[in-house]
């Protein structure tokens, strides 16, 4: 232990001239390579799992956009056949067939149609929640990190309070108060996840704000907003993109769980979580398809998004390890 400590301080305390030389060397080698983003894209392309994730996501997004052409039926089309000799109860939860690729739900709706339309909810939750999180978390993190002092203390105490709330509690309370319409679901999930972004941005800025290039900008009289936007933001974009790419699947999972316990979204236009909850209630005496297919869709989406996020982290941010959430 003592050995390693000594080793590290030795490296940090290189004699001035040697350090200068090392820095020049590094600057030279940086200049030779192509742009940061080009390099990152190259690294991402080499990552097979990340590319697979990207392709699956593209397909899922297409499915969400073109849902009316893919779903084959309306979500509220009831397939109870009055003329059939079989009684109503036997027609519930039909197993998969050529007519109903994933079978039907307990109310005789086509499961495939519901799953396809459900993708719209899940994907929009992922994207809009992250947009709101950025909208709240980025400015607060910038202010706390750059200005410090009382701003920092107050904002950090607020994030402390929000972080101490148990997982999902705020979202659950929020939806219980305002009802379960999808717009409130976006807000509820964003409210319970924004502190992570604020803390990330703040930490990044603390590491940057005393760097030479920022001081140089300050010295030549660049205004503060311009320093933040032009000089600091581009440098912390990598970690932010990585955080967002992991935040999207997390939001989707939270929505699925909220739907699962029945507080998110409209039962008539169910999200995957709602379908899962219907499946969980029925699955012991019926074909498990209604539980299986929506669950698999969640797995597929979340897994591909995480693959992409993982690839992005390796590509943009090779030094960061997957420590805290």
């Amino acid at each position: 232990m003592a050995k390693s400590t000594k080793e590290r301080t030795d490296q940090a305390d290189l004699p001035g001239a040697a350090a200068e030389a090392a820095r020049t060397l590094q600057a030279l080698s940086n200049k030779k390579s192509s742009s940061l983003w080009g390099d990152a894209w190259k690294r991402l392309r080499r990552n097979k799992l990340a590319m697979l994730g990207l392709i699956v996501m593209a397909l899922l997004i297409l499915m969400a956009i073109f849902a009316p052409w893919i779903a084959r039926y309306e979500t509220d089309q009831n397939f109870y056949d009055r003329n059939s000799p079989r009684p109503y109860s036997e027609q519930n939860y039909q197993p998969p067939s050529a007519d109903h690729w994933m079978g039907t739900t307990g109310q005789n709706y086509d499961l495939w149609a519901r799953v396809v339309y459900g993708s719209r909810i899940s994907l929009s939750v992922g994207l809009i929640v992250q947009a709101i999180v950025l909208l709240i978390g980025l400015p607060l993190g910038l202010i706390a990190g750059y200005f410090g002092g009382w701003f920092d203390i107050i904002i950090m105490r607020i994030t402390d309070i929000f972080r101490a709330f148990p997982y999902l509690l705020l979202a659950l309370l929020f939806l219980s108060i305002f009802g379960s319409s999808i717009a409130w679901v976006y807000v509820a999930i964003a409210i319970s996840t924004w502190p992570v972004m604020t803390r990330l941005v703040r930490g990044q800025i603390l590491g940057l704000k005393n760097k030479e290039f920022v001081e140089a900008a300050r010295a030549v009289g660049v205004t503060t907003p311009r320093i933040l936007i032009k000089h600091i933001l581009p440098n912390i974009l990598g970690p932010i993109i990585v955080a967002v790419s992991f935040g999207v699947p997390e939001a989707i999972i939270i929505e699925a769980f909220l739907g699962y316990i029945g507080v998110s979204g409209d039962p008539a236009a169910p999200s995957w979580g709602r379908l899962i909850s219907e499946g969980r209630e029925a699955f012991q005496s019926n074909p498990p398809t209604i539980l299986l297919f929506p669950t698999l869709m969640v797995v597929l989406t979340v897994m591909s998004l995480n693959f992409v996020g993982d690839g992005l982290r390796d590509a943009l941010d090779p030094k960061q390890t997957n420590g805290r959430k």
Partner: protein, 389 residues
């Protein structure tokens, strides 16, 4: 150091006030009342509301609640018509009753005795050996106390009678088992992957870890349910999935599913941390001196690779103890997470507040403990400068 600890402890106060206040206000602004489901006459309803203090102004209710909360009386559970208190459901003891010594008091008593005994032994040892106090505290006393305490706690948690203890016990068992699974699986796999870097074994392990990292325990639990149903259907067996009062054996599957994601996270972290350490010069020195690879990796590498892992462990423990909400719902385990969700669905105010505060305090204190331990394990970190926030 002492100043830092006091500072951190003081920070708990605004968090406590913030969490209780926000939860209280939000819970009470949910439309409806806990009594709406009952068919009651107007006067009967008024009477019941008065008996629970629900007719007082909100701020008065808040202060009364906080006052009682501090005394260990977390109120009656509305959902159970006041027949059980929140503390009874969560910890298995009646908050207002003092006739039989509550479980937590026994616990504190035993812990105090343990600390005194261990400290006494340490003092004797210090007299004999003439060691400096701070060094002794760091190298011997603190680890011994911590290890004894955790061993004792785990023993209590797994031997306590579930019919007497409350829901917290299930969550603790679940969390501890998941934590153990995480350590036992995550760290060795991470080390193996790092030592065999770029081999097929490494690729397989990292891919599995990535997949495990990508699937949350909630979905994993659902997949396991489907698997159990299919197995029952094909083999004609009758595995039960959600027994009403789960034994420790019943908790193994949920615990593994809960810990799987954390195990992947730890495995990935262990691997990258090991790889970082292996590249250091002192590793090469040790190899050059002729030590064999295995000994270098374990003896010199692991010790240093462990520091970044340690910082995450406490965070993960807090995550496992509070993150079991979803798995408890999926497997119908009557832990705090289960009560937590159902209390919100039925507007059981005291229960909502009780579970929330319990969760919040768990997170806050585990994080505090982790930060302090981090300083202990990694002397490079100093809290004296007040840089850590």
């Amino acid at each position: 150091m002492g100043k830092y600890v006091i500072n951190r402890l003081l920070q708990v106060i605004p968090v406590f006030i913030g969490v209780t206040l926000i939860t209280f206000v939000m819970a009470h602004s949910i439309p409806g009342s806990p009594l709406t489901s009952e068919k009651l006459s107007e006067s009967a309803r008024k009477q019941i509301e008065a008996s629970y203090g629900l007719n007082r102004p909100l701020y008065e209710q808040y202060f009364i609640y906080i006052f009682n909360f501090m005394r260990g009386d977390w109120g009656p559970s509305f959902e159970r018509k006041g027949t059980q208190t929140v503390t009874e459901i969560l910890f298995g003891y009646k908050g207002t009753e003092t006739s039989n010594t509550p479980f937590w008091l026994q616990l504190v008593g035993v812990l105090a005795v343990t600390v005194v005994v261990v400290a006494g032994l340490g003092l004797v040892w210090a007299q004999v050996k003439k060691v400096d106090w701070l060094g002794l505290f760091r190298s011997w006393l603190l680890p011994t106390v911590l290890l004894t305490l955790s061993a004792y706690l785990i023993f209590v948690i797994f031997t306590l009678d579930t019919s007497k203890a409350g829901g917290f016990l299930f969550s603790l068992r679940l969390g501890i088992m998941a934590f153990a699974f995480m350590l036992i699986v995550g760290i060795p796999l991470g080390i193996i992957a790092a030592l065999k870097q770029n081999s097929w074994l490494d690729y397989t392990l990292t891919t599995i870890a990535l997949v495990g990292f990508s699937i949350p325990s909630f979905v994993l639990g659902l997949l396991a349910l489907i698997a159990v149903v299919l197995i029952n259907a094909w083999l004609g067996t009758n595995f039960s999935i959600a027994p009403s009062s789960p034994t420790t054996a019943d908790l193994i599957l949920p615990a593994i599913l809960l810990g799987a994601r954390e195990a992947s996270i730890i495995a990935r972290l262990t691997r990258s941390s090991m790889l970082e350490v292996i590249r250091q010069d002192y590793m090469r020195t040790a190899q050059a001196k002729g030590l064999n690879n295995q000994r270098v990796a374990i003896g010199h590498g692991l010790k240093n690779a462990f520091i970044p892992i340690l910082t995450v462990l406490g965070d993960r423990l807090a995550g496992l103890l509070t993150g079991s909400v979803t798995i408890e719902r999926v497997f119908n385990i009557p832990g705090i997470g289960y009560y937590f969700v159902s209390s919100i669905l039925v507007l059981d105010y005291p229960m909502i507040l009780g579970t929330t505060v319990l969760y919040a305090m768990l997170v806050v204190f585990i994080n505090l403990a982790v930060d302090l331990l981090y300083g202990y394990f990694d002397p490079r970190i100093s809290y004296a400068k007040g840089s850590a926030a």
